[in-house]
Amino acid sequence: MILFDHVTKVYASSQARPALDDVSLEIEKGEFIFLVGPSGSGKSTFLRLVLREERPTRGQVWVLGKELNRLSNWKIPAMRRQIGTVFQDFRLLPNKTVFENVAFALEVIGKPSSHIKKVVPEVLEVVGLEGKEGRRPDELSGGEQQRVAIARAFVNRPMLLIADEPTGNLDPGTSIGIMKLLDRINKLGTTVVMSTHDSQIVDQMRRRVIELEAGHVVRDQSRGVYGYAR
Protein backbone atom coordinates (compact mmCIF):
# COMPACT_ATOMS: atom_id res chain seq x y z
CA MET A 1 0.00 0.00 0.00
CA ILE A 2 2.68 2.49 1.08
CA LEU A 3 6.42 1.90 0.86
CA PHE A 4 9.12 4.38 1.85
CA ASP A 5 12.51 3.35 0.55
CA HIS A 6 15.34 5.37 2.14
CA VAL A 7 13.36 8.58 1.83
CA THR A 8 14.97 11.88 2.75
CA LYS A 9 13.19 15.18 2.45
CA VAL A 10 15.05 18.45 2.84
CA TYR A 11 13.05 21.65 2.47
CA ALA A 12 14.76 24.44 0.60
CA SER A 13 14.11 26.82 3.49
CA SER A 14 15.98 24.69 6.06
CA GLN A 15 18.97 23.13 4.38
CA ALA A 16 20.55 22.29 7.71
CA ARG A 17 18.15 19.63 8.98
CA PRO A 18 16.08 17.25 6.86
CA ALA A 19 12.38 16.94 7.72
CA LEU A 20 12.68 13.22 7.04
CA ASP A 21 16.05 11.50 7.17
CA ASP A 22 16.52 8.16 5.44
CA VAL A 23 13.12 6.73 6.36
CA SER A 24 12.27 3.22 5.22
CA LEU A 25 9.01 1.54 6.15
CA GLU A 26 6.13 -0.38 4.70
CA ILE A 27 2.40 -0.18 5.36
CA GLU A 28 0.28 -3.13 4.28
CA LYS A 29 -3.18 -3.06 2.81
CA GLY A 30 -5.88 -2.94 5.48
CA GLU A 31 -3.63 -1.69 8.28
CA PHE A 32 -4.51 1.04 10.76
CA ILE A 33 -1.47 3.15 11.49
CA PHE A 34 -0.89 5.78 14.15
CA LEU A 35 1.83 8.23 13.26
CA VAL A 36 3.06 9.86 16.45
CA GLY A 37 5.83 12.17 17.48
CA PRO A 38 6.36 15.77 18.63
CA SER A 39 5.62 18.75 16.42
CA GLY A 40 8.27 19.10 13.74
CA SER A 41 9.19 15.42 13.87
CA GLY A 42 8.18 14.91 10.23
CA LYS A 43 4.62 13.54 10.48
CA SER A 44 3.13 16.13 8.15
CA THR A 45 5.99 15.78 5.69
CA PHE A 46 5.38 12.03 5.68
CA LEU A 47 1.70 12.54 4.82
CA ARG A 48 2.46 15.21 2.22
CA LEU A 49 4.89 12.83 0.51
CA VAL A 50 2.19 10.14 0.37
CA LEU A 51 -0.21 12.62 -1.23
CA ARG A 52 2.53 13.76 -3.60
CA GLU A 53 2.14 17.33 -2.44
CA GLU A 54 5.90 17.15 -1.95
CA ARG A 55 8.55 15.12 -3.70
CA PRO A 56 11.31 13.36 -1.78
CA THR A 57 14.81 14.81 -2.00
CA ARG A 58 16.22 11.28 -2.07
CA GLY A 59 14.68 7.83 -2.07
CA GLN A 60 11.44 6.45 -3.41
CA VAL A 61 7.87 6.68 -2.24
CA TRP A 62 5.50 3.96 -3.45
CA VAL A 63 1.77 4.48 -2.99
CA LEU A 64 -0.90 2.12 -4.33
CA GLY A 65 1.70 0.29 -6.39
CA LYS A 66 3.12 3.39 -8.04
CA GLU A 67 6.45 5.11 -7.56
CA LEU A 68 5.41 8.74 -7.14
CA ASN A 69 8.58 10.23 -8.59
CA ARG A 70 7.89 8.52 -11.87
CA LEU A 71 4.21 9.45 -11.87
CA SER A 72 3.60 12.22 -14.39
CA ASN A 73 1.73 15.33 -13.25
CA TRP A 74 -1.44 14.61 -15.12
CA LYS A 75 -1.82 11.21 -13.46
CA ILE A 76 -1.77 12.66 -9.95
CA PRO A 77 -5.51 13.50 -9.84
CA ALA A 78 -6.38 9.90 -10.72
CA MET A 79 -4.10 8.71 -7.91
CA ARG A 80 -5.61 11.12 -5.38
CA ARG A 81 -9.11 9.86 -6.18
CA GLN A 82 -8.07 6.61 -4.51
CA ILE A 83 -6.92 8.43 -1.38
CA GLY A 84 -9.24 10.14 1.10
CA THR A 85 -7.91 12.97 3.23
CA VAL A 86 -9.13 14.36 6.56
CA PHE A 87 -7.61 17.30 8.42
CA GLN A 88 -7.65 18.81 11.87
CA ASP A 89 -9.42 21.92 10.55
CA PHE A 90 -12.12 19.96 8.63
CA ARG A 91 -11.73 22.08 5.45
CA LEU A 92 -15.43 22.31 4.65
CA LEU A 93 -16.97 24.91 2.36
CA PRO A 94 -18.92 27.25 4.68
CA ASN A 95 -21.52 28.32 2.11
CA LYS A 96 -22.48 24.78 1.12
CA THR A 97 -24.74 22.37 2.99
CA VAL A 98 -23.60 19.01 4.35
CA PHE A 99 -24.97 17.28 1.26
CA GLU A 100 -23.35 19.81 -1.09
CA ASN A 101 -20.00 19.57 0.67
CA VAL A 102 -19.88 15.83 0.12
CA ALA A 103 -21.35 16.11 -3.38
CA PHE A 104 -18.67 18.69 -4.28
CA ALA A 105 -15.99 15.99 -4.13
CA LEU A 106 -17.91 13.99 -6.73
CA GLU A 107 -18.94 16.92 -8.91
CA VAL A 108 -15.37 18.10 -9.41
CA ILE A 109 -14.29 14.70 -10.66
CA GLY A 110 -17.17 14.70 -13.11
CA LYS A 111 -19.51 12.12 -11.58
CA PRO A 112 -23.09 12.23 -12.92
CA SER A 113 -25.72 13.68 -10.62
CA SER A 114 -27.70 10.41 -10.55
CA HIS A 115 -24.64 8.75 -9.01
CA ILE A 116 -24.23 11.64 -6.54
CA LYS A 117 -27.88 11.45 -5.42
CA LYS A 118 -27.39 7.77 -4.67
CA VAL A 119 -24.02 7.63 -2.92
CA VAL A 120 -24.06 10.83 -0.84
CA PRO A 121 -27.00 9.74 1.40
CA GLU A 122 -25.35 6.34 1.76
CA VAL A 123 -22.07 7.76 2.99
CA LEU A 124 -23.86 10.26 5.26
CA GLU A 125 -25.54 7.28 6.88
CA VAL A 126 -22.18 5.55 7.33
CA VAL A 127 -20.81 8.57 9.23
CA GLY A 128 -24.05 9.01 11.20
CA LEU A 129 -25.29 12.28 9.75
CA GLU A 130 -28.60 11.14 8.30
CA GLY A 131 -31.19 13.90 8.66
CA LYS A 132 -28.58 16.68 8.67
CA GLU A 133 -28.07 16.90 4.89
CA GLY A 134 -29.40 20.47 4.69
CA ARG A 135 -27.33 21.96 7.52
CA ARG A 136 -24.43 24.28 6.93
CA PRO A 137 -21.08 23.68 8.65
CA ASP A 138 -21.56 26.55 11.11
CA GLU A 139 -24.76 24.88 12.33
CA LEU A 140 -22.88 21.71 13.27
CA SER A 141 -20.69 20.76 16.22
CA GLY A 142 -17.00 20.15 15.69
CA GLY A 143 -17.49 16.40 15.76
CA GLU A 144 -20.27 16.60 13.20
CA GLN A 145 -18.16 18.80 10.93
CA GLN A 146 -15.38 16.24 11.07
CA ARG A 147 -17.92 13.54 10.17
CA VAL A 148 -18.84 15.56 7.08
CA ALA A 149 -15.16 15.77 6.17
CA ILE A 150 -14.79 12.01 6.67
CA ALA A 151 -17.89 11.40 4.54
CA ARG A 152 -16.33 13.52 1.80
CA ALA A 153 -13.06 11.62 2.06
CA PHE A 154 -14.80 8.24 2.05
CA VAL A 155 -17.52 8.84 -0.54
CA ASN A 156 -15.32 7.44 -3.31
CA ARG A 157 -14.54 4.37 -1.19
CA PRO A 158 -10.79 5.06 -1.33
CA MET A 159 -8.14 2.40 -0.82
CA LEU A 160 -6.31 4.68 1.59
CA LEU A 161 -7.45 7.28 4.12
CA ILE A 162 -4.96 9.88 5.32
CA ALA A 163 -6.01 11.64 8.53
CA ASP A 164 -3.83 14.49 9.77
CA GLU A 165 -4.67 14.93 13.47
CA PRO A 166 -8.40 14.45 12.87
CA THR A 167 -9.23 14.76 16.57
CA GLY A 168 -6.90 17.67 17.25
CA ASN A 169 -9.76 20.17 17.55
CA LEU A 170 -12.22 17.92 19.34
CA ASP A 171 -12.93 17.11 22.98
CA PRO A 172 -12.17 13.56 24.22
CA GLY A 173 -15.76 12.35 24.10
CA THR A 174 -16.25 13.49 20.52
CA SER A 175 -12.86 12.11 19.57
CA ILE A 176 -13.90 8.62 20.60
CA GLY A 177 -16.86 8.82 18.22
CA ILE A 178 -14.58 9.90 15.37
CA MET A 179 -12.13 7.08 16.16
CA LYS A 180 -14.97 4.52 16.12
CA LEU A 181 -15.94 5.86 12.70
CA LEU A 182 -12.38 5.62 11.38
CA ASP A 183 -12.15 2.11 12.82
CA ARG A 184 -15.34 1.19 11.01
CA ILE A 185 -13.99 2.59 7.74
CA ASN A 186 -10.81 0.56 8.30
CA LYS A 187 -12.89 -2.58 8.82
CA LEU A 188 -14.64 -1.87 5.49
CA GLY A 189 -11.22 -2.43 3.89
CA THR A 190 -9.67 1.03 3.71
CA THR A 191 -6.11 1.44 4.96
CA VAL A 192 -5.97 4.30 7.49
CA VAL A 193 -2.88 6.36 8.29
CA MET A 194 -3.54 8.83 11.06
CA SER A 195 -1.16 11.28 12.68
CA THR A 196 -2.05 12.26 16.22
CA HIS A 197 -0.91 13.76 19.50
CA ASP A 198 -3.70 12.06 21.43
CA SER A 199 -2.06 9.46 23.70
CA GLN A 200 -5.36 8.25 25.14
CA ILE A 201 -6.68 7.25 21.74
CA VAL A 202 -3.47 5.46 20.74
CA ASP A 203 -3.31 3.61 24.01
CA GLN A 204 -6.93 2.50 23.75
CA MET A 205 -6.88 1.36 20.12
CA ARG A 206 -3.70 -0.72 20.32
CA ARG A 207 -2.82 -0.52 16.64
CA ARG A 208 0.49 -0.26 14.86
CA VAL A 209 2.35 2.85 16.00
CA ILE A 210 5.10 4.54 14.02
CA GLU A 211 6.92 7.17 16.04
CA LEU A 212 8.99 9.84 14.37
CA GLU A 213 11.51 12.10 16.00
CA ALA A 214 13.59 14.69 14.19
CA GLY A 215 12.94 12.96 10.89
CA HIS A 216 13.85 9.44 12.03
CA VAL A 217 11.63 6.45 12.76
CA VAL A 218 12.42 5.80 16.42
CA ARG A 219 9.73 3.19 16.99
CA ASP A 220 7.60 0.94 14.79
CA GLN A 221 5.48 -1.32 16.92
CA SER A 222 2.41 -3.36 16.18
CA ARG A 223 -0.29 -2.99 18.85
CA GLY A 224 1.69 -0.14 20.37
CA VAL A 225 0.99 2.64 22.83
CA TYR A 226 1.64 6.36 22.51
CA GLY A 227 4.96 6.45 24.34
CA TYR A 228 6.92 4.56 27.00
CA ALA A 229 7.60 7.48 29.25
CA ARG A 230 4.07 8.83 29.39
Binding site: P77, R91, L93, I109
Partner: protein, 302 residues
Protein backbone atom coordinates in the same frame (compact mmCIF):
# COMPACT_ATOMS: atom_id res chain seq x y z
CA UNK B 1 -18.08 16.75 -17.33
CA UNK B 2 -20.89 18.42 -15.45
CA UNK B 3 -21.94 21.46 -17.43
CA UNK B 4 -24.42 22.78 -14.87
CA UNK B 5 -21.86 22.51 -12.10
CA UNK B 6 -19.22 24.35 -14.10
CA UNK B 7 -21.77 27.00 -15.13
CA UNK B 8 -22.80 27.62 -11.53
CA UNK B 9 -19.13 27.88 -10.50
CA UNK B 10 -18.57 30.46 -13.25
CA UNK B 11 -21.63 32.43 -12.17
CA UNK B 12 -20.52 32.44 -8.53
CA UNK B 13 -17.03 33.48 -9.51
CA UNK B 14 -18.21 36.36 -11.68
CA UNK B 15 -20.57 37.67 -9.00
CA UNK B 16 -18.01 37.37 -6.25
CA UNK B 17 -15.52 39.31 -8.34
CA UNK B 18 -17.97 41.75 -9.86
CA UNK B 19 -15.85 44.94 -9.79
CA UNK B 20 -12.84 43.20 -11.30
CA UNK B 21 -15.05 41.58 -13.92
CA UNK B 22 -16.49 44.98 -14.86
CA UNK B 23 -12.99 46.43 -15.10
CA UNK B 24 -11.97 43.62 -17.42
CA UNK B 25 -15.06 44.09 -19.60
CA UNK B 26 -14.45 47.84 -19.93
CA UNK B 27 -10.73 47.66 -20.67
CA UNK B 28 -11.30 44.89 -23.19
CA UNK B 29 -14.04 46.97 -24.82
CA UNK B 30 -11.86 50.10 -25.03
CA UNK B 31 -8.71 48.36 -26.23
CA UNK B 32 -10.53 46.23 -28.78
CA UNK B 33 -12.55 49.27 -29.88
CA UNK B 34 -9.33 51.10 -30.68
CA UNK B 35 -7.93 47.99 -32.28
CA UNK B 36 -11.02 47.64 -34.47
CA UNK B 37 -11.01 51.36 -35.29
CA UNK B 38 -7.41 51.20 -36.44
CA UNK B 39 -8.18 48.19 -38.62
CA UNK B 40 -11.17 50.07 -40.02
CA UNK B 41 -8.98 53.08 -40.87
CA UNK B 42 -6.60 50.73 -42.63
CA UNK B 43 -9.46 49.24 -44.58
CA UNK B 44 -10.63 52.77 -45.38
CA UNK B 45 -7.19 53.75 -46.68
CA UNK B 46 -7.07 50.67 -48.86
CA UNK B 47 -10.60 51.33 -50.13
CA UNK B 48 -9.62 54.89 -51.01
CA UNK B 49 -6.43 53.73 -52.65
CA UNK B 50 -8.38 51.31 -54.81
CA UNK B 51 -10.85 54.04 -55.63
CA UNK B 52 -8.36 56.79 -56.35
CA UNK B 53 -5.47 54.89 -57.87
CA UNK B 54 -7.97 53.70 -60.40
CA UNK B 55 -8.61 57.28 -61.34
CA UNK B 56 -5.22 58.92 -61.06
CA UNK B 57 -3.28 59.70 -64.15
CA UNK B 58 0.19 60.70 -65.07
CA UNK B 59 0.05 64.03 -66.86
CA UNK B 60 2.69 64.83 -69.45
CA UNK B 61 2.49 68.56 -70.10
CA UNK B 62 3.88 69.66 -73.43
CA UNK B 63 5.77 72.87 -74.05
CA UNK B 64 3.83 75.92 -75.11
CA UNK B 65 5.17 79.23 -76.33
CA UNK B 66 5.98 80.90 -73.04
CA UNK B 67 7.44 77.83 -71.21
CA UNK B 68 10.79 78.54 -69.57
CA UNK B 69 12.00 75.09 -68.56
CA UNK B 70 15.27 74.02 -70.30
CA UNK B 71 13.54 71.22 -72.19
CA UNK B 72 11.28 73.84 -73.79
CA UNK B 73 14.15 75.94 -75.10
CA UNK B 74 13.04 75.10 -78.63
CA UNK B 75 9.71 76.86 -78.11
CA UNK B 76 6.32 75.22 -78.38
CA UNK B 77 6.13 71.49 -79.03
CA UNK B 78 6.33 70.52 -82.67
CA UNK B 79 4.00 68.08 -84.37
CA UNK B 80 6.87 65.63 -84.86
CA UNK B 81 7.75 65.75 -81.17
CA UNK B 82 4.12 65.20 -80.21
CA UNK B 83 3.79 62.22 -82.54
CA UNK B 84 7.04 60.73 -81.24
CA UNK B 85 5.86 61.07 -77.61
CA UNK B 86 2.60 59.38 -78.45
CA UNK B 87 4.39 56.56 -80.26
CA UNK B 88 6.75 56.09 -77.29
CA UNK B 89 3.79 55.97 -74.92
CA UNK B 90 2.16 53.35 -77.11
CA UNK B 91 5.36 51.27 -76.92
CA UNK B 92 5.06 51.23 -73.10
CA UNK B 93 1.89 49.14 -73.19
CA UNK B 94 0.70 47.18 -71.26
CA UNK B 95 2.01 49.33 -68.38
CA UNK B 96 0.35 52.22 -70.14
CA UNK B 97 -3.28 51.32 -70.14
CA UNK B 98 -4.89 54.38 -71.60
CA UNK B 99 -3.59 57.40 -73.48
CA UNK B 100 -5.65 60.49 -73.87
CA UNK B 101 -4.56 63.65 -75.57
CA UNK B 102 -5.89 66.89 -74.15
CA UNK B 103 -5.65 69.88 -76.43
CA UNK B 104 -5.37 73.50 -75.29
CA UNK B 105 -9.08 73.99 -76.02
CA UNK B 106 -10.09 70.97 -73.96
CA UNK B 107 -7.79 72.02 -71.12
CA UNK B 108 -9.42 75.44 -71.14
CA UNK B 109 -12.92 73.96 -71.06
CA UNK B 110 -11.99 71.72 -68.13
CA UNK B 111 -10.36 74.64 -66.32
CA UNK B 112 -13.47 76.72 -66.75
CA UNK B 113 -15.58 73.91 -65.39
CA UNK B 114 -13.32 73.35 -62.36
CA UNK B 115 -13.07 76.98 -61.35
CA UNK B 116 -16.41 78.24 -62.55
CA UNK B 117 -17.11 79.98 -59.24
CA UNK B 118 -13.76 81.67 -59.09
CA UNK B 119 -12.75 85.04 -60.64
CA UNK B 120 -9.48 83.42 -61.73
CA UNK B 121 -11.23 82.10 -64.86
CA UNK B 122 -11.44 85.57 -66.33
CA UNK B 123 -7.66 86.07 -66.15
CA UNK B 124 -6.71 82.89 -67.93
CA UNK B 125 -6.77 82.55 -71.69
CA UNK B 126 -6.81 79.37 -73.74
CA UNK B 127 -3.19 79.92 -74.74
CA UNK B 128 -1.88 80.00 -71.18
CA UNK B 129 -2.90 76.39 -70.63
CA UNK B 130 -0.58 73.64 -71.89
CA UNK B 131 -1.68 70.73 -74.02
CA UNK B 132 -0.99 67.37 -72.42
CA UNK B 133 -1.09 63.59 -72.61
CA UNK B 134 -3.12 61.99 -69.83
CA UNK B 135 -1.79 58.53 -69.22
CA UNK B 136 -3.43 55.88 -67.09
CA UNK B 137 -1.13 53.17 -65.81
CA UNK B 138 -2.15 49.57 -65.20
CA UNK B 139 0.05 49.67 -62.07
CA UNK B 140 0.06 53.21 -60.65
CA UNK B 141 3.07 52.46 -58.45
CA UNK B 142 5.31 52.18 -61.54
CA UNK B 143 5.11 55.89 -62.17
CA UNK B 144 8.92 56.13 -62.22
CA UNK B 145 9.13 54.17 -65.47
CA UNK B 146 7.11 56.84 -67.24
CA UNK B 147 8.79 59.72 -65.46
CA UNK B 148 12.32 58.59 -66.33
CA UNK B 149 11.35 57.97 -69.94
CA UNK B 150 9.77 61.36 -70.59
CA UNK B 151 10.92 63.95 -68.06
CA UNK B 152 13.38 66.42 -69.55
CA UNK B 153 12.78 65.41 -73.17
CA UNK B 154 12.58 68.22 -75.65
CA UNK B 155 8.99 69.37 -76.07
CA UNK B 156 7.93 68.16 -72.63
CA UNK B 157 7.57 70.77 -69.93
CA UNK B 158 6.70 68.59 -66.98
CA UNK B 159 5.66 65.08 -65.97
CA UNK B 160 3.16 65.07 -63.10
CA UNK B 161 1.94 62.18 -60.98
CA UNK B 162 -1.37 62.78 -59.24
CA UNK B 163 -0.63 59.84 -57.04
CA UNK B 164 2.04 61.79 -55.19
CA UNK B 165 -0.54 64.29 -53.98
CA UNK B 166 -2.84 61.51 -52.81
CA UNK B 167 0.02 59.71 -51.11
CA UNK B 168 0.53 62.61 -48.72
CA UNK B 169 -3.08 62.29 -47.67
CA UNK B 170 -2.81 58.53 -47.34
CA UNK B 171 0.35 58.89 -45.29
CA UNK B 172 -1.59 61.12 -42.90
CA UNK B 173 -4.33 58.52 -42.58
CA UNK B 174 -1.72 55.80 -42.20
CA UNK B 175 -0.10 57.79 -39.38
CA UNK B 176 -3.43 58.14 -37.62
CA UNK B 177 -3.99 54.43 -38.00
CA UNK B 178 -0.56 53.69 -36.55
CA UNK B 179 -1.25 55.89 -33.54
CA UNK B 180 -4.59 54.19 -32.96
CA UNK B 181 -2.88 50.82 -33.29
CA UNK B 182 -0.14 51.79 -30.80
CA UNK B 183 -2.71 53.00 -28.27
CA UNK B 184 -4.71 49.83 -28.87
CA UNK B 185 -1.60 47.70 -28.27
CA UNK B 186 -0.74 49.44 -25.01
CA UNK B 187 -4.37 49.14 -23.92
CA UNK B 188 -4.26 45.45 -24.75
CA UNK B 189 -1.16 45.09 -22.57
CA UNK B 190 -3.01 46.87 -19.75
CA UNK B 191 -5.91 44.50 -20.32
CA UNK B 192 -3.68 41.44 -20.11
CA UNK B 193 -2.10 42.71 -16.87
CA UNK B 194 -5.55 43.37 -15.45
CA UNK B 195 -6.73 39.89 -16.37
CA UNK B 196 -3.61 38.40 -14.76
CA UNK B 197 -4.42 40.25 -11.55
CA UNK B 198 -8.09 39.39 -11.72
CA UNK B 199 -7.21 35.73 -12.03
CA UNK B 200 -4.86 35.99 -9.05
CA UNK B 201 -7.59 37.53 -6.94
CA UNK B 202 -10.11 34.96 -8.17
CA UNK B 203 -7.73 32.08 -7.45
CA UNK B 204 -7.03 33.52 -4.00
CA UNK B 205 -10.67 34.07 -3.10
CA UNK B 206 -11.44 30.48 -4.03
CA UNK B 207 -8.32 28.86 -2.60
CA UNK B 208 -10.47 26.85 -0.19
CA UNK B 209 -12.46 25.31 -3.02
CA UNK B 210 -9.45 24.69 -5.22
CA UNK B 211 -7.44 23.09 -2.40
CA UNK B 212 -10.32 20.69 -1.75
CA UNK B 213 -10.64 20.00 -5.47
CA UNK B 214 -6.98 19.09 -5.61
CA UNK B 215 -7.27 16.80 -2.59
CA UNK B 216 -10.21 14.85 -3.96
CA UNK B 217 -8.43 14.38 -7.26
CA UNK B 218 -10.07 16.89 -9.60
CA UNK B 219 -8.05 17.26 -12.78
CA UNK B 220 -6.20 20.46 -13.51
CA UNK B 221 -8.54 21.07 -16.39
CA UNK B 222 -11.57 20.83 -14.13
CA UNK B 223 -10.02 23.14 -11.55
CA UNK B 224 -9.00 25.77 -14.09
CA UNK B 225 -12.00 25.59 -16.39
CA UNK B 226 -14.31 27.88 -14.36
CA UNK B 227 -11.57 30.52 -14.15
CA UNK B 228 -10.79 30.27 -17.86
CA UNK B 229 -14.47 30.53 -18.74
CA UNK B 230 -14.85 33.57 -16.50
CA UNK B 231 -11.97 35.35 -18.20
CA UNK B 232 -13.20 34.36 -21.65
CA UNK B 233 -16.76 35.41 -20.84
CA UNK B 234 -15.72 38.83 -19.52
CA UNK B 235 -13.44 39.37 -22.52
CA UNK B 236 -16.17 38.17 -24.87
CA UNK B 237 -18.63 40.68 -23.39
CA UNK B 238 -16.06 43.45 -23.78
CA UNK B 239 -15.41 42.39 -27.36
CA UNK B 240 -19.13 42.42 -28.15
CA UNK B 241 -19.37 45.95 -26.73
CA UNK B 242 -16.46 47.02 -28.93
CA UNK B 243 -17.99 45.34 -31.99
CA UNK B 244 -21.30 47.08 -31.26
CA UNK B 245 -19.48 50.41 -31.16
CA UNK B 246 -17.73 49.60 -34.43
CA UNK B 247 -21.02 48.72 -36.14
CA UNK B 248 -22.60 51.91 -34.78
CA UNK B 249 -19.66 53.97 -36.08
CA UNK B 250 -20.03 52.45 -39.52
CA UNK B 251 -23.82 52.88 -39.58
CA UNK B 252 -23.93 56.40 -38.15
CA UNK B 253 -20.57 58.13 -38.43
CA UNK B 254 -19.57 56.79 -41.85
CA UNK B 255 -22.85 56.09 -43.62
CA UNK B 256 -24.92 59.01 -42.28
CA UNK B 257 -22.39 61.73 -41.55
CA UNK B 258 -19.22 61.30 -43.59
CA UNK B 259 -20.46 59.65 -46.76
CA UNK B 260 -23.11 62.28 -47.62
CA UNK B 261 -20.62 65.13 -47.08
CA UNK B 262 -17.77 63.58 -49.03
CA UNK B 263 -19.51 62.09 -52.01
CA UNK B 264 -16.47 62.25 -54.26
CA UNK B 265 -14.72 59.39 -52.46
CA UNK B 266 -15.49 55.84 -51.46
CA UNK B 267 -15.90 54.59 -47.88
CA UNK B 268 -15.36 51.16 -46.37
CA UNK B 269 -18.23 48.77 -46.86
CA UNK B 270 -19.87 46.35 -44.45
CA UNK B 271 -17.58 43.59 -45.70
CA UNK B 272 -14.67 45.31 -43.93
CA UNK B 273 -16.66 45.47 -40.68
CA UNK B 274 -17.64 41.83 -41.12
CA UNK B 275 -13.96 40.95 -41.51
CA UNK B 276 -12.79 42.99 -38.51
CA UNK B 277 -15.48 41.98 -35.98
CA UNK B 278 -14.53 38.27 -35.70
CA UNK B 279 -10.88 39.28 -35.44
CA UNK B 280 -11.72 41.53 -32.49
CA UNK B 281 -13.68 38.79 -30.75
CA UNK B 282 -10.91 36.28 -31.36
CA UNK B 283 -8.19 38.67 -30.15
CA UNK B 284 -10.13 39.55 -26.99
CA UNK B 285 -11.15 36.04 -26.01
CA UNK B 286 -7.82 34.54 -27.09
CA UNK B 287 -5.69 37.06 -25.18
CA UNK B 288 -7.86 36.73 -22.07
CA UNK B 289 -7.78 32.94 -22.28
CA UNK B 290 -3.99 32.87 -22.67
CA UNK B 291 -3.42 35.39 -19.88
CA UNK B 292 -5.72 33.42 -17.58
CA UNK B 293 -4.18 30.10 -18.54
CA UNK B 294 -0.62 31.17 -17.78
CA UNK B 295 -1.62 32.88 -14.53
CA UNK B 296 -3.54 29.83 -13.35
CA UNK B 297 -0.67 27.51 -14.19
CA UNK B 298 1.32 29.46 -11.66
CA UNK B 299 -1.33 29.83 -8.95
CA UNK B 300 -3.26 26.58 -9.21
CA UNK B 301 -0.66 23.86 -9.20
CA UNK B 302 -1.36 20.23 -8.49
Amino acid sequence: MRATFVASEVGTGLRRNLTMTLAVIITVAVSLGLFGASLLVRAQVSTMKDFWYDKVEVSIFLCSKGSDTPSCAGGAVTNAQRDQIEADLESLRPLVEDIYYESKAEAYARFQEQFKNSPIVDNVTENALPESFRVKLSDPTKYDVVASAFAGRPGIEQVNDQRQILDKFFRLLGGLQLIALLIAMSMLIVTVLLIVNTMRVAAFSRRRETSIMRLVGASNFYIQLPFLLEAALAAGLGALLAIGTLIASKAILIDQVLAPSFQFTAFVGWDAVAGIAPLMLLTGVGLAGLAAFFTLRKYLRV
